[in-house]
Every structure is written in structure tokens, then in C-alpha cells.
Amino acid sequence: MLYPAPGTEGSKVGVNPTYGNFIGGKFVDPVKGEFADNPTPVTGKPFTQHAQSSEEDVELALDAAYKAAPAWGEASLAQRAAVLNKIADAVEANLEEIAIAECYDNGKAVRETLNADIPLLVDHFRYFAGAARTEEGTISEIDNDMVAYHFREPLGVVGQIIPFNFPLLMAAWKLAPALAAGNAVVLKPASPTPWSIMKLMEVIGDVVPPGVINVVTGPGAQIGKALATNKRIAKIAFTGETVTGRLIMQYAAQNIIPSTTELGGKSPNIFFADIMDADDDYLDKAIEGLVLYAFNQGEVCTCPSRALIHESIYDEFMARCLDRIAKIKQGSPLDTDTMMGAQVSTNQMDKITGYCDIAASEGAECLIGGQKAALGGDLADGYYFNPTVYKGHNKMRIFQEEIFGPVLAVTTFKDDAEASPTTPCTAWGPASGRATAPAPTAWDARSRPDASGRTATTPTRPRPRSAATRSPASAARITA
């Protein structure tokens, strides 16, 4: 089915002409009254405006957070857990509407938001509601007369900065643990995706004490910096790219506060010869694993955008994969049949096109795709790119750099030892997958490659308890 666009006739999702910041439980226009257009990647046209805040708005948000933090921090774990569960319930009751909003702001297929992003968001709040209840401290003996007991306490008011690729899920990954721990938050969403979080606030605003969650939108250089350098936050949490991550850590150091950063990388998937020993479900899964580079339009930090395939199986395996890639259905992201939606912005489109140019000049062979998708009609100006595969070698830039689009770089290897030296060539690498027939070969490769956080299949199913570990240059931990 094709959902009507938000704000149009027949849509369940309303759109206001402008959205202010969400502060103290209410929508508040920015102090200087400036707003900016927000285009939807679906059509490339603006559909609403969001607050183009200034430093004053960050201070107002912090004021509201400071007012709310004491009572929230002193609430019992059970009370906080109950609120987190109410958040989950409220989202679940409005799942379709929120999924449509997320699709429209980010461009991803509504099929994904209905079945992955929003259900995972709901689960994340429920998980941390449970985690809050089981939180324990420690007690140890100093001597016969003295013990030391250790409770965890909330930090107080914290700052959070999130990326555009899973706007609401990234918000959940930050908000749920911070709230469970008793903190009040000021959160800045990414500039390309400032709207879906406001729809989320409309739904959960009533169940959260005012001021516990505050959302301020605006340019990173002004608002992100104003938040991250502010002396009134006890911690800064950031997910995004590496240079900004370094700056965040630097700001945190200057104020002597903790920071957590989850940064980017380029992950390899390695396909050993024995996966083609049988034409079975396992092989089908391995093919699916390769094709998952196109999941979320490639806008995933753990995107398996690099595939190393054993040369003896390359021809047949690649033929099967290309067949499957050719079947990826593109179209309006609001159509539940569409598998792959739009990239988030024109910036991203430019970058992807740029990398395709680089691929051509580096002598990579284009196996499929390599250009923008011309979907026509209402979608003509939307941000659509065809699923693309290049064959080359590991020293090419398209193998080294995170393209953040539906572009896969494939190469072959001859023996297992070769799969090791070729893979650590990138400066970063958040996750890697190894596809091999069950048992022996997978476990032998424990210490390789350099990218950490390896899984037996592909790393595209994040769950609350699974850590995304990183190589040092993209230093990250479980987001909290």
C-alpha cells in the first residue's frame, strides 16, 4: 500500500508549518525566531520548517532540564522504569504514524520503519525499563568495623547529539539509558532530520515529566557546539563522524566531563569457499548478507560495504548476488512494497556520485548500478540512487572510505592468510562478518581481521545487549 504523504489528504500524520524546540514539555519557538526549511528526501521539496536555534535556546533547554533533574533523579528505579514503559506503550499505540513520519524525514522505506526502526525503538525503552529495575551497587569490607557501599547515581543533566541515519532509533539509544539512570537530557537531532523526533515528542510528551527530555534543533556549528562546550552538562554523548567526534572529546576534556562517542568506519564481509559446498539455506543467508550493504540505503556505520570473496567461488557467488541485487525494489519510500528508499540529503547524493567517479578513475569495474535512480513523477527530485557494486582491489579509495550509500566494493582473495592482511588496511572498521560453513573455519579466524565486533553472519541486527566495538580510531562503546 502507498501511504499518503504526511500533511496531505488522507494521511494519518499531520504537519505544522513550523516546529519550535521541545523544552519543558512544550513546543517553544526559538528566541530569535529563525526557522529553516526541512525538505523530505522523498520528493526533495520542503514540507515544514524547524527552529534554527541559537545559543540562548540551548540555555533555555538546560534551564528546563535543571528544574526537572532533581525529582527525576530521586524517583525510584521502579518509577522511572514505569515511565520508560509508558513511552514504549505510547509509541507502540502510534506505531504506524511514527513510522510514516520517520520514513518521510529520513527517506528510508516505510517497510523498514514499520518492521525495524520503530519496533526496535519500543523494545529499547522496554529493555532499559527492565535494566533500571535490576540495577545493583556493590558492598565491600574495609575492615571489621567499616564497609564501603557503592551506589550508582545519576550524573544530572547530560547533552546528546545524534546522527541522521536512524533518527528515532538513535534518539532511543541515547534517551533510554540516560533516563533509566535518572538524568535529564538536552538532545540535538541531526540537521537533515529534525522533524520525526518532534512527532515522537507529540506522542510521548504527556507521559514524561516536563523538562526530562528537551530537544533543540539548529546548525551543528552553533547548537551542537553550544551544547557540547556548555559548563552545565555533566556528560556529552555523540554518534557521528570521526573529526566531530574528536572535537567532542576535546570539548569534554576542557570541561573535565566524560564523553562517549560512536564513530564511523568501513566494514568487511569475508566469504570463504565452503559456503558454496551446498545450495542450501546457509548459502542463501550468505547471499543475503552480501546484499545487506544496501540496507538503509547504505547509511549505516556498520554497513558491510566491502566484500572479500574467495576466488574459487567468486563467479558463481557473485552471479547469484547480482541477481538478487537487481531485484531490490525501489520506489516511493511511502509504499510498503519499496525495499530501498531515498538517501537523506543532496550532500549524500553528491558524495555517492563523487565516489562513483573515483571508482571509475581508479579502474574499478562497475558490476551493477553506478548512477542516480530516475524514478520520475513526484519522486523526480527526490534523492534516489541505484544499488551499485564495483569490483576492484583493497587499495582503492572506494575500499577504504565510508561512502554511506548503496555502493559495495568487492574483491577476491586466494587463501585464508590473504583475507587477513587485506582487511586491516582501512583506518577504521566498526564491525566485520565472516560467512563460512558452520564450525571450524569461522572460529579459526578469531583474531582477524583488524575490525572488531565480528559476528558469524552479518552485523546488521543491533540489539540492546550487543556491543558495537570499534578499532581505536573510531573509539566507541555501548551507547549510553
Partner: protein
């Protein structure tokens, strides 16, 4: 500082150049900020390979960063392992429409700075620009 490298034929080539559009945009940014700016090359994730633009001195560089040179006085840095992974190319500073990523300063007309490498300057490639 690493302003010159030798190419395969043994000829010198500069590490850093800029298009006339980039230099004009940079001058306007300097006027708006009231001072010099700096560039730090990003290697990937959401920002692709955009050079992040900050006020000069905002971003602390260290022994792991390579100074490629400057564009009208604005220093341009790149992480040395990223530089090696890229094969130490010539980087050309240019501008494109669209808001900048992260905490990068944008141009005065709603655009952002981009890095092109030699690869993008091949004849016929849509990203080709005249190099100043």
C-alpha cells in the same frame, strides 16, 4: 608539513589546491567569522570526505595530523593514517550547495566545502572544476 610529493614519474605535485569558487567562499567565511579558519579532513561516515571547517585553533591538532599546506592562510590538516590509506593524493578544496555536516562552518550562502582528489578532476567527470 607535507606540501609537495613526487608522483610516479618523479615530478613534484602539490598536496593542496583550491578552486576559485572555494577561495571566494573562504574569503566570505573569514569576513563573517572575523578571523582565519582551518580545515580538517574527514574520512567517512555520515560526512563522507568533507573537509570540516572551524575557526582557526578550534580543533586541536597533534603529532598524528599532517599539515598539507594552506589556502590563503587557512591551514588544512589530515590524519596521517587516513592520508596513507588514501595514497597521499592532491586534495582540491571546492564548494557545493547544502548545509555542512557536524560542527563544520558553512559558506555564507548555505553551502559547504568539499575535497576533491585528482580522481575527480578527470576530463568529463561532473565534479571537474578549474584549479586555482
Amino acid at each position: 608539513m607535507d606540501p609537495i610529493v613526487l608522483d610516479a614519474a618523479g615530478a613534484e605535485r602539490p598536496r593542496l589546491q583550491a578552486t576559485p569558487e572555494a577561495r571566494a567562499a573562504l574569503a566570505a567565511v573569514r569576513a563573517r567569522e572575523g578571523g582565519q579558519v582551518m580545515f580538517v579532513q574527514s574520512g567517512g561516515c555520515c560526512a563522507g570526505s568533507t573537509p570540516m571547517c572551524f575557526t582557526d585553533g578550534e580543533f586541536l591538532t597533534g603529532p598524528g595530523d599532517v599539515l598539507l599546506g594552506d589556502v590563503d592562510g587557512a591551514p588544512f590538516y589530515i590524519d596521517s593514517s587516513l592520508d596513507q590509506a588514501w595514497g597521499r593524493p592532491t586534495i582540491v578544496l571546492d564548494v557545493r550547495p547544502g548545509r555542512p555536516e557536524g560542527f563544520s562552518l558553512g559558506t555564507v550562502d548555505g553551502g559547504h566545502f568539499v575535497s576533491l582528489t585528482d580522481a575527480c578532476l578527470v576530463e568529463g567527470a561532473p565534479t571537474k572544476g578549474t584549479v586555482g
